[in-house]
């Protein structure tokens, strides 16, 4: 394999990794906020992709333009999921761990069933968009435009999230609730409101990622499953709950995936990611950047 091909493949791995970071950051945000893993995270991504697809088919809106709309819709969806399901799941007295896992797992299965029922298991795709299928050449390396734009969106989203958490009242409330939900209640912040908004924000971020993914990936009811597993690995690598750990975790996952794809048959490329997850948690049981 030539040096060019290696650089080429690492560059696409990096772009994909930034997108993985964007997919995973909502998961990390919610976990950090309330120690809950959303096992329906992949299905959030899946409905965002469907939403983008239908906006394209029925209203001819390009995925790039529908991204903010999809993110807004997912924001509402995430908050509703918190208010209808998660709010009750975290109150469970018996089998608390099991309840947290299986309530969101149940939601994932229902969402998959509903999409199969209404949209059939067929594979869909956004056939022609502004960015789809285009490549640019940067210093002799060919980069797919949708992934490149996706990576830029991811960087912008992480930048925005950083400012949001540090510079706005809601961001500070979020950070404070994450540190000590009990104390926050004493100063008059409604914990439930913060949690609901946190779920909304987490879902909006994965919604943004879904709109971009819809440009270059097939859309089908099970599409979330494989990305969800990658997202858990990303979040775990970064240390559960660390929002910027997810950014770093995404980049690592993208590069590892690209490297594995060069070394092993393509159908085994996910093995590298999973192996890295296991290696990291065996050495550091709280993830790379997680506090011990």
């Amino acid at each position: 394999m030539t040096a060019d091909a290696i650089i080429q493949s690492l560059a696409s791995g990096l772009l994909m990794g930034l997108l993985y970071g964007l997919i995973a950051v909502g998961l990390a945000l919610i976990f950090g906020l309330m120690d809950v893993v959303n096992f329906a995270h992949g299905e959030f991504l899946m409905i965002a992709m469907y939403a983008t697809f239908f906006l394209f088919v029925f209203f001819a809106i390009d995925p790039l333009l529908s991204a903010p709309l999809v993110a807004a819709a997912l924001f509402v969806f995430g908050a509703v999921v918190y208010l209808l399901i998660v709010r009750f799941a975290v109150r469970a007295k018996a089998n608390a761990g099991m309840v947290q896992i299986f309530s969101t797992f149940g939601l994932a299965i229902v969402m998959r069933g509903l999409t199969q029922y209404f949209f059939t298991p067929d594979y869909r795709s956004v056939t022609h968009s502004w960015l789809g299928g285009k490549t640019v050449s940067v210093a002799g390396i060919f980069l797919p435009v949708p992934q490149l734009v996706g990576a830029l969106v991811a960087i912008a989203a992480f930048g925005g999230l950083y400012l949001f958490i540090n510079r706005t009242d809601f961001g500070r409330a979020l950070e404070a609730t994450r540190e000590d939900a009990g104390a926050v209640a004493l100063v008059g912040i409604d914990k439930n409101k913060v949690f609901a908004l946190g779920w909304g924000l987490g879902a909006a971020l994965v919604g943004l990622a879904g709109a971009i993914m819809a440009i270059f990936f097939y859309i089908y009811p099970d599409v979330g499953a494989s990305f969800a597993l990658i997202a858990y690995v990303t979040v775990a690598l970064g240390g559960f709950g660390s929002v910027f750990g997810a950014f770093a975790g995404g980049i690592i996952v993208g590069l590892v995936e690209a490297t594995t794809a060069m070394l092993l048959p393509p159908s085994l490329k996910a093995v590298g990611i999973y192996a890295v997850y296991l290696l990291v948690v065996f050495v550091r049981p709280r993830g790379l950047f997680g506090s011990m």
């Binding site: 799941a89 018996a94 099991m98 309840v99 299965i109 229902v110 509903l114 775990a236 048959p265 996910a270």
Partner: protein, 335 residues
């Protein structure tokens, strides 16, 4: 020994015996092969969930990767039979032993992990197994293995003409899984597991070797699940990676226990008796599994149960007339 507890255990045993005897006579009246098929599946999932429950329910280590052991059991039996003509009985035993050993080898690093890190590790490991079998040409890769019919006897464990022998084997498997659970519940292992589940630090300080008890639970659980996998391979006589090691199998093993009552003696079987016929019937009533109705039913049930009755449906049977099958009271008895 607490007499109330001892008495409850005796009653459990009698109830189980009566239920098994009734179950054994059902095929004499129900001749329809669709219904018999459904009963085989119900018993098999009940047995699998009962085995899953040992590690995830009693010992509290929630595994969503047990499809690995199911698949290993199925593949060991199928490969030994088709490649070397080894009788499925030996394959079953071999698959069980291999799975138990692998479970302990994997448990060695994994049992240091807590909570979600552990759950995700189990998913990821099963997924690696699935991908490896997908790419293993000798084992049929993605095409899988067709198990040829070489007889119609218990010796070869093949019954092309009737479902009845499969039914009785599945019943026996369910009884064994139940009995192992019943027996372990009152052994030192059972007490260790519950202590590890409730508070590992406290258990450790009282002299329970937490790590070893998790390893024991993993080995027993994996062995029984692999035997179930071997049975399944003979029953459907065609396996491929997705159909025996896919993630949905891990989930399907957990669901009956979650529904019936996780970490309880009767929960998994009760859950299977409700869940499997319900999904099979919805599936055939609506027509085709592609519609997604079965998923909606599954998922809806899981959400409802985990929110409304996290201790499972078994609690509803707590009236004395039903032989006191309940777990909360049992806990009191244990204390």
């Amino acid at each position: 020994m607490d007499t109330a507890f001892a008495e409850r255990r005796r009653r459990d045993l009698i109830v189980a015996f009566v239920l098994a005897a009734i179950a054994a006579t059902v095929p004499l009246f129900v001749k329809d092969s669709y219904l018999q098929n459904m009963m085989v599946l119900t018993l098999m999932w009940g047995a699998l969930s009962q085995s899953w429950n040992i590690l995830s329910g009693y010992c509290g280590q929630i595994s969503l990767g047990h499809a690995l052991y199911f698949g290993l059991g199925a593949y060991t039996t199928a490969l030994l039979f088709t490649k070397f003509g080894v009788l499925p009985w030996f394959g079953m035993l071999g698959g069980g032993v291999i799975s138990a050993l692998i479970a302990m080898a994997l448990g060695y690093p994994c049992f240091r992990l807590r909570g979600h890190y552990f759950v995700i590790a189990t998913i990821v490991i099963a997924e690696i197994g699935l991908l490896l079998f997908h790419n293993w040409d000798w084992a049929g890769a993605a095409m899988g293995i067709e198990i040829p019919v070489r007889g119609d006897s218990w010796l070869k464990f093949q019954f092309p003409r009737s479902k009845l022998p499969y039914f009785y084997f599945a019943l026996a498997l369910a009884c064994v899984a139940w009995f192992v659970t019943w027996w372990l519940e009152d052994s030192k292992w059972g007490y260790w597991w519950r202590a590890v589940k409730d508070n590992p630090e406290a258990a450790e300080s009282l002299g329970v070797v937490v790590f070893n008890s998790k390893m024991g639970a993993a080995a027993v659980s994996a062995f029984l699940v692999a035997v179930g996998g071997s049975f399944y391979a003979q029953f459907v006589s065609y396996i491929d990676p997705e159909s025996v090691m896919g993630f949905q199998f891990s989930l399907l093993m957990a669901l009956p226990a979650v529904l019936g009552g996780i970490g309880t003696l009767w929960g998994p079987m009760l859950g299977a008796v409700i869940l499997i016929p319900l999904t099979e019937l919805t599936r055939s009533y609506v027509g085709g599994s592609g519609k997604g109705i079965d998923l909606i039913v599954y998922g809806g049930l899981i959400i409802a149960i985990s929110l409304a009755r996290p201790q499972g449906l078994i609690g509803l049977f707590s009236v004395k007339s039903l032989a006191g099958l309940l777990s909360p009271r049992r806990k009191e008895a244990v204390r």
